[in-house]
Amino acid sequence: MKAKPKVLTGLDFLSAVMVLIAAGLVFFYAPVEVQMGAVQKVFYFHVATAWVGMLGFLVAAVAGVFYLRRNEVRWDIIGVSAVEISLVFFLIAIIMGSIWARPIWNTWWTWDPRLTTAAIVELIYAAYMLLRSGVDDPERRARFSAIYAIFGFISVPLTFISIRLLRTIHPVVIGGAEAASQGGFNMGPSMQWVFFFSLVAFSVFFADLLWHRIRLGELKSAVESLRVKAFQEGM
């Protein structure tokens, strides 16, 4: 295995510092929203984790396209790495949203278009991981995953635009407010600053995690090659 690059160590440090600064800004700089109280602060990391989730699903779809064009295993590793990280972040976004919803909507969950489409996205990519593990042949698995990631990605923009097209209680924070939404608010300059900083911090954090996960994928691939070699040598 290649030694850990210095750039990756730097990225570890940078992402940790940025996420900590973002948390500090959320707790100590961002104002408390008058109508919702402190729970509104969930918004900053709720959107940031959802953003990372969607970003990873996009990376997986792009990696799928590259795999189909070039047939190189590294694109399969990038795809599965991005999906794995995004599954975690998207699930966190859904749970954080549910916690935010409880005092504002008076319910943990409702089958609103945004919540429903987000749950479908999570299930689609959970199925991606499950179905992958059911295919033994690495080439077939990679091809299947690439096609699945490309078609699965259709669900992501649908989730994003669901609150802009359909009647929903989920607030549209950026780009106008739906009359039926509950929990919407206007972001002041300090809120916007914390919000965009959180988005950047989590994007850097995602890049860092993705790099680590890709290295793990490459290591697993190397172990698999050695295992095959050992088998051929009759060990």
Binding site: G37, I92, I95, I99, L219, V223, E233
Partner: protein
Amino acid sequence: MFSNFLTPDTVDYMIAGYLVIAVGIGLYIASLAIRTKHTLRAYQLYKEDLDQQFKDR
């Protein structure tokens, strides 16, 4: 003009939300570290075995 609107106390929900993200990301990073450690150990074992076999020949 006086407003009788009081900002609700929702601090517990905020703490719960940030606990979810801290625990979730913490667990994922731990799982990544553990899997890397195990895979690295497997890689070294296979490599040592193969090297030993080539030496024995």
